[in-house]
Amino acid sequence: MQRPRSLSLIRLEVPFLSLLCMQGMPSIAESALTTPSILAPASTPANEIYHLSLFVLAITGSIFIVVGGLLAFVIIKFHARKSDSEHEPAQIYGSTQVELAWTVIPVLIVVVLFLTTARIIFAIQDAPEPSSALDVTVIGHQFWWEFRYPKLGIVTANELHVPVSTQQRPEPTYLRLLSADVDHSFWVPQLGGKTDLIPNHPNQMWIDPQTAGLYLGQCAQFCGIEHAKMLLRVYVDTPDQFAAWVKNQQRQGVEDQAVTAGRRVFEHEACMNCHTITGTTATGTFGPDLTHLMSRATIAAGAAANTPGNLRAWIRDPNTLKPGALMPAMQLSDQETNEVVAYLTTLR
């Protein structure tokens, strides 16, 4: 159980990497600095972990220098030399004092490390959720992410939008983690440690990103053949950006008369069995909600950029972009495919 702490205890840190602010519809090409490094925390849990890790590293580093140094010294000093006498060296079988000392010191080190660690565990896991938190339900699927905002009435997929959380205006995001099939794990290193999504075992975690931008992650628990392509994009929006995004997501699906042919194909073919587009008869939940498909930068959970060409390839045969994805090749004619793609590209 992980819930946010009150902000007075949170230390704000400037992240290592500067992150781009995404406006409107981002593309993959724009995200230049996208290394999801745990050394570049941008959220309180990630920050707490980062500082703990520096402390642990300092202690283990010192141990390495001392013990490693001793070893190196021994190897150099007691190397057998030709000039040595023929006799065997003095046989020393043990020393109670020395052995006691090097038992007690590690015990003390362990006690210190344990207490420091436990403090951070409780701080992150047992922090109470403030009322200003945004609730998001994350449902893991093979091989995509479903995001639901219950209080806002939003359902989307693969690309998570959360508001930036500042000291003046704290708004952490509180994620409830569920799974529709097998085990998954939500990992965006810069925003927090990972937490697993296990069927029938709801988990919770929280993040409070302090700098707007795009943060990358991916599924971190092997979930099947395309586990490697179950990517995550988290857009941390400024308040204005977030409000605009929410408003757009809450709208019904765009109904553009020019593409009714494509919409008809979508509704009459098997598409509607798996996908939802609000305002149409498509209410399937096996695959991602496509109502605002064009508000996303990628398709297939990050496997490809969201372009008409990729959409066409995906619909023709998902295995060309993500071999083993659970969506079948739709067996549409070329004309039907073009119509559907034309329709889908209107779903902003």
């Binding site: 021994v74 007691f78 043990g94 362990v110 344990f114 047992d126």
Partner: protein, 562 residues
């Protein structure tokens, strides 16, 4: 005349033909119950699969050398990393420790053979069959994509991915069944080692005069009894779920995938101690001999080994810090995991103290053991980092973890196994391994190992998870992955040099005699290789180093030992 030597006319010539002699020779190996022959069979089997699993690793590293590569399909990559892990742990690790243990334990305690020679043979053949059955999966049956049904669910095979609903082919079944079969073999070997060490020691060899390698095999075998059995139980539950419609891990019926995780890691964590403890035993034999000093603190070494075995059974959920245990639960496992570092650290200090004041000869076995000391120190320290649960929430399932466990398994376990080869090969074959080739093997492997696994820590810190057949090009992982793969190639070459050394030295190596290293334990008092009966007369011992007492009659150990 009785002293005539020319052939007597009219007799029958019953000299068997070459073919018949070959059949006879092969047959003798198949039906043998001699612990030395069975030990060699285990070891040769393990070496073969070391090469196979190494090839699987090389294929994976070629796939990962550049992003979005197409060298291996996703299916094949997933099968390869599952098989690489399963092979290395079970078909290489478990078989080689029981192989070396089988060969050495009776010799080191002055016994004629193991307590149960036929059980010994049964154990080997069960293990061998299980492993071959596992590899049959590549060609047997038809998996979902017609590429063979090798297991592709990771070596820890989490539910519910392994349920029939999500893995309908036979992949998981091969994994579970082959390991259940191998488990019987392992159990038999462990029971045998325990019975041998307790019931077959020569006169004067009290438990506290046994060589440390024997002690560590005893502790390992005891730990194995309660380690491999939970895995067998869990795998039986998995098979029942898959074939009898049971619901152990069926979330819809009230079952819990998390129960599989607990059961698997209750096996999985002590298992890695089962692997590393014999390696500690090897180091405890090699380091004293090449430092020309008795082991420092023998009683503490025994106590630490037993302590490690006990504590290691309480740490398993440090593999599960991210599954949503309570803060109290997480804290407990942080404490127990850090505590297991204490007896382990003590052992490192004892080995260092053994070398202190010695006259260290850096022959190849000692080179490997010295590198082991440094690498095991690093592995233990990264283990402490991983034990810190919040940090673990970042590092879990990343390449940092892979780097850590390869530091323990390759950098510590395999380095000690190589040391064991160079140290005891003369005893087994009567010939020395080439020192020149040995040093080349060592330095190349050392360089390749560090290039690969030091770099791997960083790519994990930069957010790269494990079990992925490819990665995005814009995450900053490209160069690091490339150099990791190059290191893998270097290690591969080193291992080939080692294999060449083994073969060439068998044919042309320098003859070793009984005791080429001027060592002190009983196995060095027999001819090389030892005769089938091991000892012409039952030895009688008075201290931990019987040969030291023989070689230093004015300064024997039994005057000073505590």
């Amino acid at each position: 005349m009785a002293d005539q030597t020319y052939p007597i006319p009219g007799i029958l010539d019953t000299t068997p033909s070459r073919a018949a002699r070959l059949v006879e020779w092969v047959h003798s190996w198949v039906v043998t119950v001699d612990h030395k022959r069975l030990g060699i069979l285990y070891i040769v089997y393990a070496l073969f699969f070391l090469l196979v699993a190494g090839a699987e690793a090389m294929a994976m590293r070629i796939q990962l050398a550049v992003p979005n590569n197409h060298f291996l399909s996703p299916e094949l990559f997933n099968e390869f990393f599952t098989m690489h892990g399963t092979t290395m742990v079970f078909l290489v690790g478990m078989t080689i420790i029981f192989g070396i243990g089988n060969y050495l334990v009776p010799l080191m305690i002055g016994a004629r053979d193991m307590a149960f020679p036929r059980l010994n043979a049964f154990s080997f053949w069960m293990s061998a069959f299980g492993g071959l059955f596992l590899y049959f999966s590549f060609v047997g049956g038809f998996g979902l994509y017609g590429m063979g049904s090798a297991p592709d669910v990771t070596w820890w095979a989490y539910a519910p991915l392994t349920a029939k609903a999500f893995t309908p082919g036979h992949n998981t079944d091969y994994w579970a069944l082959s390991l259940i079969v191998m488990g019987f073999g392992t159990l038999g070997a462990a029971i045998n080692i325990l019975a041998t060490a307790f019931s077959m020691r020569c006169r004067g060899m009290t438990l506290f005069r046994m060589p440390l390698f024997v002690w560590l095999m005893v502790v390992t075998s005891g730990l194995t009894l309660i380690t491999i059995t939970p895995l067998t139980a869990a795998q039986v539950m998995l098979i029942i779920d898959r074939y009898l419609g049971a619901h152990f891990f069926d979330a819809q019926a009230g079952g819990a995938p998390i129960v599989w995780m607990h059961f698997f890691w209750i096996f999985g964590h002590p298992e890695v101690y089962v692997l590393i403890l014999p390696a500690f035993g090897i180091a405890s034999e090699v380091i004293p001999v090449f430092s020309r000093k008795a082991i420092f603190g023998y009683p503490a070494m025994v106590a630490a080994s037993v302590g490690i075995a006990f504590v290691s059974t309480t740490v398993w959920a440090h593999h599960m810090f991210t599954v949503g245990m309570t803060s109290v639960g997480n804290s407990f496992f942080v404490l127990s995991t850090m505590m297991v570092g204490i007896p382990t650290a003590i052992k490192i200090f004892n080995w260092t103290a053994t070398m202190w004041g010695g006259k260290i000869r850096f022959a190849t076995p000692m080179l490997f053991c010295t590198a082991f000391l440094f690498q095991f120190l690093c592995a233990g320290l990264t283990g402490i980092m991983l034990a810190s649960a919040p940090w673990n929430w970042q590092l879990h399932n990343s390449y940092f973890v892979i780097a850590h466990f390869h530091y323990t398994l390759t950098g510590s376990f395999i380095f000690c196994i190589f040391a064991a080869f160079y140290y005891w090969y003369p005893k087994v074959t009567g010939r020395m391994l080439s020192e020149k080739l040995g040093k080349r093997h060592f330095w190349l492997f050392f360089i390749g190992f560090h290039l690969t696994f030091d770099t791997m820590h960083f790519v994990g810190i930069l957010g790269m998870p494990r079990s992925i057949y490819t990665y995005e090009a814009d995450r900053g992982w490209n160069t690091l992955n490339f150099w990791i793969s190059v290191g893998g190639l270097i290690q591969g070459i080193a291992v080939l040099i080692f294999a060449w050394n083994l073969i060439r030295s068998y044919l042309h190596g320098e003859e070793s005699g009984n005791d080429p290293w001027d060592a002190w334990t009983l196995e060095w008092s027999t001819p090389s290789p030892p005769p089938a009966y091991n000892f012409a007369e039952d030895p009688v011992v008075r201290s931990r180093r019987p040969l030291w007492d023989l070689k230093h009659p004015h300064d024997p150990d039994w005057k000073y030992e505590r």
